[in-house]
Every structure is written in structure tokens, then in C-alpha cells.
């Protein structure tokens, strides 16, 4: 690493000091990058010895915005250990709750966090859409920002209804769910859902879901944009117009390898169509060449992280979380381990899901120019399209089949091991659990931000967004908005950190070495 001569305080993830990124710049271009998680969390260590079901209560509290996602991963790991598949109605409720959390996160991230950078006055004061961007996305007051907070707040009511509690619901349990919503409550969920769909189509897409689904290629996308002013004025349309003029389609390539664990296990009897029993397919791809997913080749490398070293990278069923911050200073630089799939760095998140699900538009984008900030963020903005249809069907099916069971009795959790592998809003999330004598004997969590924001591995290979930063041109090192676009396109999140009210709070920052 070259000598650091300048440090810039960039709120890179607005996660209050728990993510720091250093980049080395030559001739205005980033030539190397280091991503550091700056806080040891060690949730796994605190799980050992607790009751077998405690992950259902503890892990949803790990993160304020992925509460249901952790709950889902935790319960699916226990489902595997008990060998009892939950009844169809429980699947419907679990999926609906997880989908609400994902949609809420996608839209908030896109408008409140990613497109907030379009309102960066110093960077975009001469951009032809700069004034419009500030009107829409200025933090705390932009028209789109306020609208998004209001609408996503309403959507969350669905979780409160079906979870029977908000926040910190633990309504998913081995064998199913603990809540059986009344017909009137399901009807209420439908009303909230349909109102949200109307807003999403009107404001985010600028067209119906059916019209959006007719887009199968880059040419179709361009034609869609030209087709009407409502398309251009929607958030997706504005994002396209603004991005085109700042070249986001050529920024932030990354490793060009993708991972998705697949998501939303389908009920046995449903009219929702999926692949291999899930709505979203599991897989790994190099470019757009998709291979079947094999969970046995996931490993965690600790060579550059502040954890006790092992002879080789270990599978999460064998891995440990033992902090060790002494020695090797300079080589170790993060509290995040380096997850690898078959020894390789991968990107995970909405773009990975689109590629692995075989979405023709996103496959063409990646074939054409490789992954980019543009493709990644567009995938996030339109991912709800893939969810809304299934949500509508499952709400209807719940009304029809409300008299069927929501829970199969499960007694003591037997000894065994299980993995809950799902897609969080930010990508692949896994809980690997071993139970012995009705106690947790082992718990490992790999979050999406660990995949995307990993440090180097023992071969010196960079993590996904470290790699994506390389080659980025920075016009003004005092306002490196381009680097912000790259990292934020992965939706970095370490929200499970300190966040108390304080004067002169520390922000996550980007350090630039020149």
C-alpha cells in the first residue's frame, strides 16, 4: 500500500464508522483498494451453549433492517435439522414477510442511499438533470425521498399483521409459524399490498408490471424509455437518464462472478411457478454461464482478517470466529472474513439473482459490457417486479386455504446440523447451525456484505467491491462520488453496529492514497 497522504471523510456507507475503504490512486484512477470492517461483532460466539431455538430470538436482533431475513435463515437451518417441512400456509406467510422486507430495503436503498448521490451538488452542479435530482433526492426533503419513506412504511404493516408483533417478531418457528391471521387481517394485508403495487407501478416503474415484463433486451429497454414521459419521469426512467450521462454502465465491474443461494421455497400446492422448488434459482455463474449451486465449496478465509488463523480456508460448518488482532499488522485489515465460493471471489445481490435466474435483459448487459453500477442498481430497482405477482397469489391462497394448518408440532430439536441459505436484500445469507443435547454447539453466519465487502484471501485476491473500485476514475479526490457510486451499488450494510445519538459522530470513510 502506498503512503497515505490524504484522508477524505466520505460517508461511504453511512454506517457510522464501521466500514472504511482505502484506495490508491494514480493519474486520477483507482489502482488498488482495501475494504475494512472496523468492528468485531462475534454474534456466532455468543450463540454457543444457548438453547437450540435461541437463534430465532437472538439473530433477528442482529440487524434492524434484516430482522426477518435472519429469522428466515435461522428457522430454515432448524427445519433442516428437524427434517420437518413447514405446511404450505407457513411457507406463504414466511415468504410474504421476507418479500416485504426485501422490497422495502430495495426501494429505500435505491432512492434514499444510492440516488441521493445524484443530488451531490458539487459533483453534479453542471449535470443537465442536476437540479431535478436535488429536487427528488435531497436527503430529508427530496420529493422522491419523502414519498419512499411514506410508502415503504405502510408496506411494513403487512409484517406487523402476519408476524403478530413489530419489531423483533419471531413468528417463524420449526414446524411453521406461530400466528394464524384472521380473514379480515389477510384482507387488510391485501389492501395494503395493492395500494403499494399501484404506487410502485406509478412512481418507481412508470408503467405496469406487465409492461415492464415485456422488456427482454437492451433495445427493449431503450424503446421503453422513449415510449412515454411517464417512463422517463419514473424513478427507473430518471435513473437511466442520469446514469447514462455519467457513464454508470462502464463503472464498477467487479469480479464478474455471481452467487445466489436461491430464495422463497414454494408451498407444495401453489400456482406460483419457480425452479427447483424455489421462486429464485440457486446457482453460481462466471459471466452469464450458470452452474448448479454447491454449498459444500463455500469457505471462509481469515488470512487478511483479525481472526485466529487456520491452515486452510474452512467451510462454515467447520469454521470458527475467534478474534485475534495481534501481529501481522498491515497484512490483516478487516473484522470481516473472506468468504469464497470454490476458492473464488463472487458478487451477490439483485444482479446476481437476475443473472442466475436467466433474466435476458441483465444477461445481455453483462455479456455486452460486464457487470456495472448501472446494471447492479437497475436490478435492485426492478427486483420487486419478480416478487409482486407471487405475493398477490399467496395472499389469495391464504384466503382460500386459511382453514388449513400453519404449524406441524415439533418437540425437542434433535442433534444434527443444518444450514439456512437464503437471499437477503443484499444477497446471499447463510446460517450454519449444529445442535447437540438441545443446545447450540456451533453457529456461523455469512452475510451478503461479507461476500461483497470481503478483504483479500490467502492468494491476495481482492473482495468483490475492492475489485470493482479498481479502474474507477476520480475527478475530484475531495468529493470522490464515483467511488461512492461503486460501493453503494452493492448496498453495503453493517447496520448491526453502534448507532447511538452523539455529537460529532464518526462516519465510514474513504481514504485516498495518492
Amino acid at each position: 500500500m502506498t503512503k497515505i497522504s490524504k484522508r477524505i471523510n466520505l460517508p461511504i456507507n453511512r454506517a457510522e464508522g464501521d466500514l472504511e475503504i482505502q484506495v490508491e490512486i494514480k493519474d486520477d484512477t483507482i489502482v488498488d483498494a482495501w475494504s475494512a470492517g472496523t468492528m468485531y461483532r462475534g454474534f456466532e460466539a455468543m450463540m454457543i451453549g444457548r438453547g437450540a431455538r435461541d437463534g430465532l430470538v437472538v439473530t433477528p436482533r442482529v440487524c434492524g433492517i434484516c430482522s426477518l431475513t435472519h429469522l428466515t435463515a435461522a428457522v430454515e437451518a432448524l427445519d433442516e435439522i428437524t427434517g420437518i417441512a413447514p405446511p404450505d400456509n407457513a411457507r406463504r406467510l414466511r415468504n410474504l414477510a421476507l418479500m416485504v422486507e426485501s422490497i422495502q430495503s430495495d426501494i429505500r436503498q435505491a432512492v434514499l442511499m444510492f440516488m441521493a448521490d445524484f443530488a451531490n451538488h458539487d459533483a453534479y452542479q453542471h449535470h443537465p438533470l442536476g437540479d431535478d435530482a436535488r429536487r427528488r433526492y435531497n436527503p430529508l426533503e427530496g420529493e422522491s425521498a419523502i414519498q419512499v419513506i411514506r410508502e415503504t412504511k405502510r408496506l411494513l404493516q403487512i409484517v406487523a399483521i402476519i408476524g403478530g408483533q413489530w419489531p423483533h417478531t419471531s413468528f417463524m418457528v420449526p414446524g411453521g409459524v406461530t400466528s394464524i391471521p384472521e380473514i379480515a387481517k389477510i384482507q387488510q394485508c391485501k389492501l395494503i399490498f395493492e395500494r403499494f403495487c399501484q404506487w410502485y407501478e406509478r412512481s418507481i416503474l412508470g408503467c405496469s408490471v406487465e409492461r415492464w415484463n415485456r422488456i427482454k433486451s437492451i433495445n427493449d429497454l431503450e424503446a421503453w424509455l422513449d415510449e412515454s414521459s411517464s417512463h422517463r419521469e419514473s424513478e427507473v426512467g430518471f435513473f437511466m437518464c442520469f446514469s447514462r450521462q455519467v457513464g454508470l454502465d462502464a463503472l464498477g465491474k467487479g469480479p464478474c462472478r455471481f452467487l445466489s443461494y436461491g430464495n422463497y421455497t414454494l408451498p407444495d400446492e401453489t400456482t406460483v411457478k419457480g425452479v427447483g422448488g424455489r421462486l429464485f434459482r440457486a446457482g453460481f455463474s462466471t459471466g452469464v454461464e450458470v452452474e448448479p449451486f454447491d454449498s459444500s465449496i463455500i469457505t471462509e478465509d481469515t488470512s487478511h482478517a483479525w481472526f485466529e488463523k487456520t491452515d486452510k480456508a474452512l467451510h462454515p460448518f467447520a469454521g470458527e470466529t475467534k478474534p485475534y488482532a495481534s501481529g501481522h499488522s498491515g497484512r490483516q485489515y478487516s473484522w470481516i472474513k473472506a468468504p469464497r465460493y470454490g476458492g473464488q471471489t463472487v458478487e451477490t445481490g439483485p444482479l446476481a439473482e437476475m443473472i442466475i435466474n436467466g433474466h435476458p435483459l441483465f444477461q445481455e448487459m453483462v455479456k455486452d459490457k460486464g457487470p456495472s453500477v448501472f446494471a447492479r442498481e437497475l436490478a435492485r430497482l426492478v427486483r420487486p417486479v419478480s416478487l409482486l405477482g407471487a405475493m398477490r397469489i399467496w395472499l389469495e391462497e391464504l384466503l382460500e386455504k386459511r382453514n388449513e394448518t400453519f404449524y406441524f408440532p415439533v418437540g425437542t430439536i434433535p442433534d444434527g446440523e443444518g444450514a439456512g441459505l437464503i437471499q437477503a436484500a443484499r444477497g446471499a445469507l447463510g446460517h450454519w447451525v449444529k445442535v447437540k443435547n438441545n443446545k447450540i454447539a456451533h453457529y456461523q453466519i455469512i452475510t451478503p456484505t461479507a461476500w461483497n465487502g470481503s478483504p483479500r484471501d490467502s492468494f491476495g485476491v481482492r473482495g468483490a467491491w475492492e475489485e470493482a473500485l479498481v479502474g474507477t476514475t476520480i475527478k475530484d479526490i475531495h468529493n470522490p462520488v464515483e467511488a461512492g457510486h461503486v460501493v453503494r451499488s452493492f448496498d453495503p450494510c453493517l447496520v448491526c453496529a453502534v448507532h447511538c445519538i452523539q455529537k460529532g459522530r464518526k462516519k465510514g470513510f474513504l481514504t485516498v492514497g495518492v
Binding site: R14, G64, I65, R150, V498, H499, I501
Partner: protein, 148 residues
């Protein structure tokens, strides 16, 4: 009048767990003798907005930094809380200052008549938590004016 105490923070980060230690203490102290909604707000950020649309009085309890001497308990008004907003950009972690800044623009119910925050500075003892719990209850019942 509706009254609500929302304890926030992260149980798994010692520096940020004071609000939830108060929550646990308040749970032990129930029933309160008057109707007060007690909420474990955790790190729910923007998702706490729905608790701020029912009018009445809302008292947050949280750890604070650089607001007082270590071990002290302070009371902040809504204005004090919003004044701590020093970022121009926010993320998934958006906290109470962000929440209160956008509240008037997104509230679809009734805005609270009074919003206060009981802050615990630095490391805490059982005594500090008890003091903060008692103060939260008093503020929820009487508000700042009557306290003075």
C-alpha cells in the same frame, strides 16, 4: 393521552446497549399503574415511524455520546435530538435524529405532542439504569414541563 416509551440500541454492542438495559428494567417494573406502551425498538431506525403517528407523548431511551459526563443521564428535547444531525447522507442505520427530521413530512396519523429522549452517557451501572428507567416513566407520565 397516549404514552409510549421506545428503548433503542443494540444488545450485542456494549457501547450501544444502555437503552435496552433500561427496557429490561422497565419490563421488570410492569405494571406501571397507567397505560404506557413499552417498545423494544432495537436498531429498527426508520421502521419505528409507525410508533410516532399516534399523538400523545413519546419517550426514547438510548445511549448517548459526548452529551454529558460518563454515567450521567440526560434528557433531550426533539429539537436537541434533531440538532445532532451532522450528516448530509443516510443509510440503513438512520437513527432517531433522521426519524424526527422526516416525521412531519411522512406522518399520516397524529404527531406526538411531545417527544423526549432519555440518554445514558458512557458505561452504565445498575444504578444508572434504574435512574434512567424511573426518569423515563416520569417523563412518559408527566412530560418535561411537570418534571421541571
Amino acid at each position: 393521552m397516549k404514552r409510549c416509551i421506545i428503548c433503542i440500541g443494540n444488545r450485542f454492542i456494549a457501547d450501544d446497549s444502555a437503552g435496552l438495559a433500561v427496557y429490561d428494567k422497565l419490563c421488570e417494573m410492569q405494571p406501571f399503574g397507567a397505560e404506557i406502551d413499552l417498545v423494544e425498538g432495537g436498531v429498527s431506525g426508520l421502521n419505528l415511524l409507525s410508533f410516532l403517528e399516534n399523538g400523545g407523548r413519546v419517550v426514547f431511551v438510548d445511549a448517548v455520546r459526548r452529551m454529558a459526563d460518563p454515567g450521567e443521564v440526560v434528557v433531550l428535547s426533539a429539537k436537541d435530538i434533531v440538532s445532532t444531525l451532522s450528516q448530509d447522507h443516510f443509510g440503513h442505520e438512520a437513527g432517531v435524529p433522521y426519524l424526527l427530521s422526516v416525521l412531519p413530512k411522512v406522518c399520516e396519523g397524529e404527531l406526538p405532542e411531545e417527544i423526549l429522549l432519555v440518554g445514558i452517557e458512557g458505561g452504565y451501572t445498575l444504578q444508572t439504569i434504574e435512574t434512567a428507567a424511573d426518569l423515563s416513566l416520569t417523563l412518559a407520565l408527566k412530560g418535561m414541563k411537570d418534571l421541571a
